[in-house]
């Protein structure tokens, strides 16, 4: 889910990459247009090359650079035009087109805008044991995203998560061991306060170092807002919100009145706190001026102990391999104690979090802290599993337009199906140096023989393997209120303000005002929203 730095690629608006990346004059070649974002397209080159070796089918790949390239492809699909057999992009219009029903493209009617792919999801791979279909191998949340009205219409080509990443070199220099990590938000702030003290006491060693760093113009804090929201509210309430409902389960402009949203914003506000001179308390001042990729570089080279970032980091910046960078779970929101049956202070909550981190299966409560209630351990466990790492990249999809070349469609589908064979999954893994698609091979794991995993990658894959992450991606959601009516799920609905709630909080807006702003924005256009999604009985 890597956003593109527009400043870097603005001059290349809608211009495809130069030919030479797999162009092919063969009229039977499968023509692929694929956006080139943080994950690049090296994996696609490798996959298509192997498929050609196996089958003789050739490909012509047209990379499209950045967000502008992505938007160009999306516009083509929305206009029911374009001549590619396969589109790899982040389709903004995915749900819109599928909700519209039948389309008429190039003079012919098709029941759906995209080719249904149920057959390739359920086709068995020969020579593989158990879990030997795409559907069985693929992560649940990715399948859910690609499924509309009971049918699959896309295949994901990326996989990732966003969380807090640590530069362990700086982390340790600031006085913490690798094994220590903030278990609660209160603990996070205590640790960062300590870091600040250390930084202030040794300005030579820690010149221009801060506990955290981010990029104001291209930030990922909005992505992790969902984690504290999910932790506080739990799975059932989150499902309500992402179905476009208020806490009472009804549609209304008051859908941002979950207490978990306020709690999430409170944490974020403190993370973005500034002193009386307008300087960040916890963020590196360079956050105000660096581009995203530059900020990443600064993080890798020690300008901060922590940075909210994603699994693309190593792909986008090879320097990651030269540093000890790992991911940690987003700390538990401390105010969750208000919802627990027992009465706990933050120290006790930390112990409970430590316990569930070591015992993350439901019911595995033997040895739980004496002071805790079992019911509360389960609540903390559920919250930890619901909101500790933000799973992303659901929307990086391959789609086959229904109007694509009919003769080539079967082969295109076969290629897509092959992409999730054990062979292709492994090839992707090897090419991406240990980063993998949102699937587990039928063998149960990836073979590490051909790749030397970096510290970063080993740690990231451990998170994937544990599987307990927040599936409530903040920015891309299926319900019509978000995907069609345009309501922002990242608490940034506004009548007139620019940017998003992260910048509002950084500029001093109170949490209450953010919630008011969202409520006012929805209230002011509620009729338009209902017009887009249909009024309920």
């Amino acid at each position: 889910m890597k956003k593109m730095n527009l400043a870097l690629f603005a001059s290349l608006i809608a211009i495809p990459a130069l030919a030479g990346c797999g162009s092919n004059d063969d009229p039977n070649a499968i023509k692929i247009a694929c956006v080139k974002l943080g994950y690049g397209t090296e994996w696609l080159t490798a996959l298509t090359k192997r498929y050609t070796e196996k089958t003789g089918v050739t490909f012509s790949i047209q990379p499209m650079i950045g967000q502008a390239g992505n938007n160009g492809l999306d516009d083509e699909l929305r206009a029911l035009s374009g001549s590619y057999d396969l589109y790899g992009l982040r389709p903004n219009s995915f749900y819109f087109l599928l909700y519209s029903g039948a389309v008429n493209a190039k003079g012919k009617r098709y029941e759906t805008a995209f080719e249904p792919l149920d057959d390739i999801y359920t086709a068995e791979y020969s020579g593989e044991n158990g879990n030997n279909t795409m559907e069985k191998k693929m992560d649940e949340s990715f399948k859910n995203y690609a499924n509309v009205n009971g049918h699959y219409y896309a295949v994901p080509w990326a996989n990732g998560f966003v969380t807090i990443m640590r530069n362990l070199d700086i982390w340790q220099k600031l006085g913490f061991s690798k094994e220590e990590y903030p278990r609660t938000t209160d603990e996070l702030f205590e640790m960062m306060d300590e870091m600040n003290k250390k930084i202030a006491s040794d300005k030579t060693t820690f010149s221009e170092v801060a506990p955290m760093i981010y990029c104001e113009t291209d930030e990922y804090y909005s992505t992790i807002l969902g984690s504290w929201f999910a932790q506080y509210e739990g799975d059932e309430e989150m499902q309500k919100f992402y179905a476009g409902r208020n806490p009472d389960g009804k549609r209304g402009p008051d859908m941002f009145t979950y207490e978990g949203i306020a709690e999430s914003l409170k944490v974020m506000k403190k993370i973005l706190e500034k002193d009386s001179g307008g300087k960040y308390v916890y963020q590196n001042e360079k956050s105000k001026s660096l581009s995203f990729t530059s900020m990443q570089q600064y993080f890798l080279f020690g300008s901060a102990a922590m940075c909210v970032n994603g699994t693309w980091l190593e792909v986008e910046n090879a320097d990651t391999r030269n540093h000890e960078i790992d991911s940690i779970k987003i700390p538990m929101v401390s105010s969750i104690v208000d919802k627990l049956v027992g009465d706990y202070n933050d120290e006790e909550l930390r112990e409970m979090v430590s316990f569930v981190d070591a015992h993350y299966e439901e019911g595995d409560n033997e040895g739980m802290p004496d002071f805790s209630e079992e019911e509360d351990i389960e609540t903390v466990r559920e919250s930890r599993n619901t909101g500790s790492v933000m799973r992303t990249d659901y929307d990086h999809l391959f789609v086959i337009p229904s109007w694509a070349d009919q003769e080539k469609k079967p082969e295109t589908k076969k290629f897509l199906q092959w992409m999730y064979s054990d062979e292709a999954l492994q090839l992707f893994y090897d090419t991406m140096k240990g980063h993998h698609l949102p699937a587990t091979p039928s063998t149960g794991s990836y073979n590490q023989d051909n790749v030397e995993l970096s510290y970063f990658r080993k740690n990231a894959n451990k998170f994937f393997a544990e599987g307990n992450y927040c599936r409530y991606l903040v920015n891309t959601v299926k319900d019509k209120i978000f995907s069609v009516a345009g309501v922002q799920s990242n608490f940034s609905n506004t009548i007139a303000k620019k940017k998003n709630c992260i910048s509002w909080l950084a500029d001093g807006m109170t949490v209450e005002k953010v919630i008011e702003e969202n409520t006012n924005a929805l209230t002011s256009k509620w009729q338009s929203i209902l017009n887009s999604i249909g009024k309920e009985d």
């Binding site: 519209s100 029903g101 493209a105 009617r109 009145t257 008011e516 002011s524 999604i533």
Partner: protein
């Protein structure tokens, strides 16, 4: 550099031929076909895959209409092969009188189809999907024949619209046959036209403003001359779409405006003079800009006479402020323009001063001068808003024009109406464009015509007296307006809705001096003709009220049950038959009004007692078999007041002339019985109530809770428990807002064991009394599950600085609640 006209003509002609649906395609020569009729509100696509889902109204064409209107029906040919067709008019004769419908009152159109690329809204009408050939353009049969387009397509439907004009015709039942020829086969089509003796006297009462852009005329008609623009203006007026011509660089002078007005004045449908001045966002009434704007008003005043009082029909559409609620710079500029004493009102006052300075008033009577000044100050400034603009409505004396879906709540219908009545003489408009979409009324191609017809009824029900459409003639695609686009082929021209921006088609490529209508334009007109018929009924009721001195009766009570069959707030029914049934029932009621007993009845809640009021010229009546004498009001006008009991027994009324009438008693039962010691009310935090016999007075308090989220979700309310609601069909009660400060907006909810359902909502200004009737028959809840009936209020609002504020104390006085079972 523009391509030469010759090439454009040729490419257009090719476009015409390729879009006709008659030439090309399969060469199936089968002569097998069938014919059937259906409602004119139904779009029968050219493909036949959906044919089993359409309503077939039989072989005969049956049309019922009032005098001086148009009405149509559809004849569908479903043909296996490609065949020529023709429909030859026959005589339509009223056997009772020998009257006939002249041939020139009968128009036959061939429906032309336009291809839908994509259903534009994910929640749009699922009847229409990408690839469907949608009937839209109505091509007069003679043009279809001369251009070789009177051919069916193989395995397809071909619609023919038969339109009757009853202008100048007497009432009667006219019958005859038309001859349909399909290929070599002839078939007689029975036609029956019933003209009711119902006539709207004078001009239509609903105004309109339809924008015609001169810049698109060249691409459609190859002619953007004044004459062509006049042709378009006259054409649209025929369809009750009053024109507002937008010239690219020029605003028509006041003199040119007057010329147009006088040219069109005698068209019955022409009732809206949109002054062609567009106020910029930087408009300053004190400058030459104000002089210019006011000069039009001055001219209209100077030309107005007792007989032709043009000022009453004038309006402005400040299109620069269009949809200002969603566009930041417009939003910022709006207060200065629309507020009390703002630049708009300054313009109107300037016009009055200009007349004074010219000595206009000095030569006229006081009475005339007052009339002119009042009319000038009442000129509407039509202000379009996408969403509810509650704060603006309460603050600005503008003629608000929200999208029709904004009125999908009774409380908002009332809000707009009440403030319109308070501030701007009741002027209240609505509009549609790329939004709203299905299920709300729309002109979209991927939506049926029924919704737009029913919108005419909604407009009457909501007291809307104006409709605006932003562009009638987009003959190119807005995003590529330097590129020629075949206007007969492209359905989506501004990338937001199919059919948005165009409602007619150019005639020039067919050799027609006038454009061609679309089914959508025809249905819009039909909806407004229904509005006119409702106006006829309302005038009759008002006349009765005047006659008998009744002032506390809403004439809508007499048509509410008909409205309930057609729409629920601003969502129309999807049953086509309903609108025709509604027309027939309305006609019956209008015709029944003219009875020799001058009988007029209504029921009223007199402080908790339901009484039937009967007014008649009959000095005695037999009511339920008992002789009763009436109270003499004035000469030959008597009143009877009969208590209504809780039974549902109909009341039989016999006049002294021996005529028998029946009143359907709903049998209302008091289910609250408010008394001083009433303890059945439950209140939210800090709220309170006092009960008396027959009423309860509640003070409803807003509350600031410990978190903003809880404050937003807090529901100030008063609830009533233990009510006998099981089996109830309707609830009825009076209420008032005794507050001198706060308006009341509230919902009425049924709170059940597992869910809460809102069953009604209302709005009431401070110091006003109202009554409510709630229909429980369609509530999505088992009434035996109901724990309480709750009146709920919103806790907060956003002020003009977008700051959240709590309401002051709101007061509501409720009379006893009655239920009918």
């Amino acid at each position: 550099m523009r391509k030469p006209v010759f090439l454009l003509s040729l490419s257009c002609l090719l476009g015409v031929i390729s879009s006709c649906g008659g030439n090309g395609g399969e060469q199936n020569e089968s002569s097998v076909f069938s014919t059937w009729t259906t409602y004119s509100t139904s779009k029968i696509i050219q493909q036949t895959y959906n044919n089993n889902n359409y309503i077939n109204t039989g072989d005969a064409v049956k049309i019922k209409m009032m005098r001086d209107e148009y009405e149509s029906s559809q004849l569908i040919i479903t043909s296996e092969g490609r065949q020529s067709f023709d429909l030859i008019k026959g005589d339509l004769i009223d056997e009772a009188t020998g009257n006939t419908i002249p041939q020139e009152n009968i128009e036959i159109y061939v429906q032309k189809y336009i291809e839908l690329e994509l259903n534009m809204h994910s929640s749009n009408n699922p009847l229409f999907v990408g690839g469907d050939m949608i009937p839209d353009m109505l091509l007069p049969l003679e043009y279809a024949k001369s251009s070789g387009e009177n051919f069916t397509k193989a395995n397809s439907n071909q619609g023919i619209t038969i339109e009757i004009s009853s202008y100048g015709l007497p009432a009667g039942v006219y019958k005859g046959e038309f001859t349909l020829k399909v290929g070599e086969i002839s078939k007689q089509i029975p036609i029956e036209v019933t003209i009711w003796d119902i006539l709207l006297e004078g001009k239509s009462t609903i105004q309109s403003c339809w924008l015609i852009y001169s810049m698109y005329m060249l691409t459609g008609e190859y002619d953007a001359s004044e004459k062509m623009l006049d042709t378009y203006a006259d054409f649209l007026s025929k369809y009750k779409a009053n024109p507002y011509i937008i010239q690219e660089d020029v605003m028509n002078s006041p003199e040119a405006l007057m010329q147009d007005v006088k040219r069109m004045w005698n068209i019955k449908n022409y009732n809206s003079i949109t002054i062609p001045y567009d106020f910029p966002l930087t408009y300053d009434a004190s400058t030459a800009q104000g002089d210019r704007a006011a000069s039009y008003i001055v001219k209209l005043a100077e030309e107005s006479t007792e007989e032709n009082f043009y000022l009453d029909y004038a309006l402005f559409y400040p299109s620069t402020y269009d949809e200002a609620d969603v566009i930041a710079p417009k939003k910022a500029a709006s207060p200065a323009f629309f507020k009390e004493g703002g630049s708009y009102q300054q313009t109107l006052e300037k016009a009055i001063r200009m007349l004074e300075n010219k000595g206009y008033f000095a030569t006229k009577s006081n009475e005339w001068n007052e009339r002119v000044k009042k009319a000038i100050r009442a000129i509407p400034d039509v202000f379009t808003n996408v969403n509810l603009a509650e704060g603006w409505v309460k603050e600005y004396p503008a003629t608000f024009c929200p999208q029709i879906n904004v009125l999908d709540y009774k409380k908002y219908q009332e809000l707009y109406k009440d403030y319109a009545n308070k501030n701007v003489n009741g002027d209240f408009w609505t509009y549609t464009c790329c939004s709203p979409n299905y299920p709300y009324p729309s002109h979209h191609l991927d939506d049926d015509c029924l919704s737009m017809r029913i919108m005419g009824w909604m407009e009457k029900a909501f007291d809307i007296n104006g409709y605006l459409f932003f562009m009638a003639n987009m003959y190119t695609t807005e995003k590529r307006n330097n590129e020629y686009t075949t206007p007969y082929v492209i359905a989506n021209r501004n990338d937001s809705a199919n059919g948005d921006g165009f409602i007619m088609y150019p005639g020039r490529p067919y050799g027609s001096p006038t454009p061609f209508p679309s089914m959508r334009l025809v249905t819009y007109r039909d909806g407004l003709e229904d509005y006119d018929m409702l106006e006829v009924f309302e005038r009759k009721i008002e006349a009765m009220k005047d006659k008998y001195g009744i002032d506390d009766l809403d004439s809508k009570e007499y048509v509410k049950d008909i409205y309930d069959t057609l729409f629920n707030n601003s969502v129309p029914t999807e049953e086509h038959a309903k609108v025709y049934e509604a027309r027939e029932e309305l006609a019956k009621r209008i015709l029944n009004f003219d009875n020799e007993d001058d009988l007029f009845t209504y029921a009223k809640n007199d402080d908790g007692v339901f009484n039937l009021y009967i007014h008649t010229n009959s000095p005695t009546l037999k009511i339920q078999g008992s002789q009763v004498s009436g109270t003499l009001l004035s000469e030959a006008r008597y009143r009877y007041i009969i208590p209504l009991n809780e039974t549902k027994e109909n009341i039989s009324i016999v006049t002294d002339k021996g005529n028998v009438y029946e009143y359907a008693n709903r049998g209302y039962k008091n289910i609250t019985n408010f008394m001083p010691d009433y303890d059945g009310a439950k209140l939210s935090k800090n709220s309170s109530f006092v009960a008396e016999t027959g009423r309860i007075h509640a003070n409803i308090e807003s509350v600031r809770e410990e978190t903003i989220s809880k404050t937003i979700r807090f529901v100030p309310s008063i609830s009533f428990e233990g009510l006998e609601l099981e089996g109830a069909k309707k609830l009825k009660f009076n209420y008032s807002n005794p507050s001198s400060i706060e308006n009341l907006t509230f919902d009425v909810d049924l709170v059940g064991k597992t869910k809460t359902v809102t069953i009604a909502d209302h709005f009431c200004m401070s110091g006003v009394s109202k009554s409510m009737e709630i229909d429980l028959s369609k509530v999505n809840m088992d009434l035996s599950d109901v724990k309480s009936l709750r009146f709920s209020f919103v806790n907060y609002y956003f002020d003009s600085n977008e700051e959240m504020q709590l309401f002051n104390t709101r007061e509501i006085e409720l009379g006893d609640i009655f239920a009918s079972y």
